[in-house]
């Protein structure tokens, strides 16, 4: 069905009986429409039993690839609400982690901490449910890390693949541009001679 153009004229007013007809017809139309929905497929989800399918870019609770992290503090600096706190001691090449805390009472899931990371080690996950009776439970330490779940692994791999593909495309475009340029240069050189 195509969409109509907006009318530019007011609708002519109806008389007494026209008004009565309009009332009955428009109410019946609305009822019929509502009634038809009885036989359509449901769009609602029974939430606690059925969990929604979240997209791979979903911005939920963070997870950290602790082995990669170099304690550079860039994510904490980027955070608008200063909810990231990290602390580690360096022993040569090794880092001894003390804490990498996120205060989810403050966090607004804006993802600004993810972009500046030089090692791509902080990510946002699909976990969103966070219920507690105690406020201290909302301060989470990302160091209690027991390896990536399968889902998180997939997310990272997908992101890396996308990045590699983008880089390859960029490289290709640059190469093509480089190929084109000498050709144009030659053409430009020829012009003055002509």
């Amino acid at each position: 069905m195509t969409l109509p153009k907006a009318p530019t004229e007011p609708k002519p007013p109806r008389g007494y009986f026209g008004n009565i007809t309009d009332t009955v017809v428009s109410t019946a139309k609305g009822m019929a429409l509502t009634f038809r929905y009885l036989f359509r497929k449901k769009v609602t989800v029974q939430y606690p039993e059925v969990r929604p399918q979240l997209d791979e870019r979903y911005r939920g609770i963070h997870y950290l690839e602790q082995e990669l992290c170099i304690n550079c503090d860039k994510c904490a600096k980027a955070c608008p609400v200063d909810c990231i706190e990290m602390d580690a001691t360096r022993h040569g090449k090794e880092l001894e982690w003390h804490k990498f805390q996120l205060d989810y009472q403050k966090c607004m899931f804006c993802e600004l901490c993810v972009y500046p990371c030089p090692k791509d080690c902080i990510h946002m996950g699909t976990e969103y449910s966070m219920v507690s009776e105690d406020r201290s439970d909302f301060v989470k330490d990302l160091l209690s890390w027991t390896g990536l779940t399968e889902e998180q692994q997939e997310r990272i791999e997908a992101a890396e693949a996308a990045k590699a593909a983008k880089l390859a495309a960029k490289k290709k475009a640059a190469e093509e541009a480089a190929k084109k340029e000498p050709a144009e240069g030659e053409a430009g050189a020829e012009d003055p001679q002509a």
């Binding site: 069905m1 195509t2 969409l3 109509p4 153009k5 907006a6 009318p7 530019t8 004229e9 007011p10 609708k11 008004n19 309009d22 009332t23 428009s26 109410t27 139309k29 609305g30 429409l33 509502t34 769009v43 979240l54 997209d55 791979e56 870019r57 979903y58 911005r59 860039k74 980027a78 955070c79 608008p80 607004m108 899931f109 804006c110 993802e111 600004l112 972009y115 500046p116 946002m124 983008k166």
Partner: protein
């Protein structure tokens, strides 16, 4: 009707019909927790019997110091806060702020990013208008439109979830471009949504605009004349509903709106007078149609390429200067007046929010209306209190 600014709450307007029964003025608090105020806002109504003699708006319940925060965090760090003033159209807020920062930086974002921005902004306009029209029905006692509207809005939110990972506070459009490129197949799913929406739009029209009860509740109610709308600095559907042909997308074109073909919808007094509550809903209904047109054109034209300007990094230091950039939010003109002194923190981020100005006239539409119409008038302004208070 009271339009002179000096005519205030305490001035009782002359009544056309003198009643036999002596009545006493009655003060009624509408809000702060009233479903029809769409947030925490209080309207003090002065009722003379069933007829309103005046109204006074009390704001500030949702004041979160957005402008003060803007002066204390980095330019980029302020971005998530912009989501929070008009939480029903956060993409547009991001866009307005990003454009203001870019105007001080002096960068134009890559073309693909401009198209993506227009696509998300228009999708958000559809979602926001759906919510406005749906809840307006709810204010007037019609329950069904809200459910159907939220179903379609949900589809838009799912599209946003796919592109940026958030459903309400996106932070997707950022100074310098957009956060991510659209994932594979996203543009196709936008097209699929539009196909479905073209069908369901007719349902809203049947349920809302053709419903006799809705017409009776809105036509000839809360008439805002063109002069009044101009004088009170209204914008968006409020201004256009009063028959003024003004749309920033066309008249001060930003991004790539000058390449797109669309109509500016004006109120024509479709069921009553020009500028009544029905006309404002009418404008919103047909603006969704125009948004679909714009989206279709964008999907055809969108080029490939980068989505983030190379020179805009995590720390933004715009040139010193002052710049006002306004965009057409679903509710009207959203302007950011940014003042920079060349450091990484703003001197001033002024937010000119559309609901704030539109709401300032609403109390002047009340005198003379019936008590039950107060909800109809406030609902037709389509305020988001996060935005009036900021």
């Amino acid at each position: 009707m009271n339009s002179h600014p000096a005519a205030r709450f305490d001035d009782k307007p002359g009544r056309e019909v003198e009643l036999d029964v002596a009545t006493q003025d009655c003060m009624i608090h509408m809000g702060p927790q009233h479903p029809a105020t769409h947030g925490v806002m209080r309207v003090l109504l002065k009722a003379d019997g069933e007829i309103l003699a005046g109204a006074q708006t009390h704001l500030g319940y949702l004041h979160r110091c957005a402008e003060k925060i803007g002066e204390s965090v980095d330019w980029l760090q302020y971005l998530p806060y912009t989501d929070r003033y008009d939480y029903l159209a956060a993409m547009n807020n991001n866009l307005g702020y990003s454009l203001a920062v870019e105007s001080l930086l002096g960068v134009e974002v890559p073309e693909r990013a401009q198209y993506l921005r227009v696509i998300v902004a228009e999708l958000n306009r559809i979602a926001s208008h759906l919510f406005a029209v749906g809840t307006y029905g709810l204010d007037l006692g019609a329950f069904t439109p809200l459910f159907t509207a939220l179903r379609d809005r949900e589809e838009v939110l799912e599209l946003f979830e796919k592109i940026c990972g958030a459903r309400l506070t996106y932070s997707y459009v950022r100074p310098g471009g957009v956060m991510n490129d659209a994932p594979e197949g996203w543009l196709a799913s936008v097209a699929a949504f539009l196909d479905g929406f073209e069908k369901t739009w007719h349902e809203y029209w049947t349920l809302i605009a053709e419903n006799k009860i809705f017409i009776e509740r809105t036509a000839n109610i809360g008439v805002l004349s063109a002069e009044q709308a101009l004088a009170w600095g209204c914008s968006g559907p409020m201004l256009r509903g009063s028959g003024i042909d003004w749309d920033l997308r066309r008249d001060q074109p930003y991004l790539i709106y000058d390449r797109l073909e669309f109509d500016v919808i004006q109120g024509v007094g479709y069921r009553g007078q020009v500028g009544d509550c029905f006309d404002r809903t009418f404008v919103r209904m047909f603006e969704m149609v125009e948004s679909v047109r714009i989206l279709r054109q964008c999907l055809e034209q969108i080029p490939d390429g980068e989505v983030l300007h190379e020179e805009v990094g995590a720390v933004i230091r715009p040139a010193p200067g002052e710049s006002y950039v306004a965009i057409e939010n679903p509710r009207g003109e959203l302007g950011h007046y940014c003042v920079s002194d060349g450091t990484k923190i703003a001197v001033r981020v002024r937010v000119r929010s559309p609901s704030f100005c539109n709401m300032s006239v609403a109390e002047h539409l009340m005198p003379g209306a019936m008590l039950g119409d107060a909800a109809a008038i406030i609902g037709s302004v389509d305020i988001v209190v996060g935005e009036t208070d900021r």
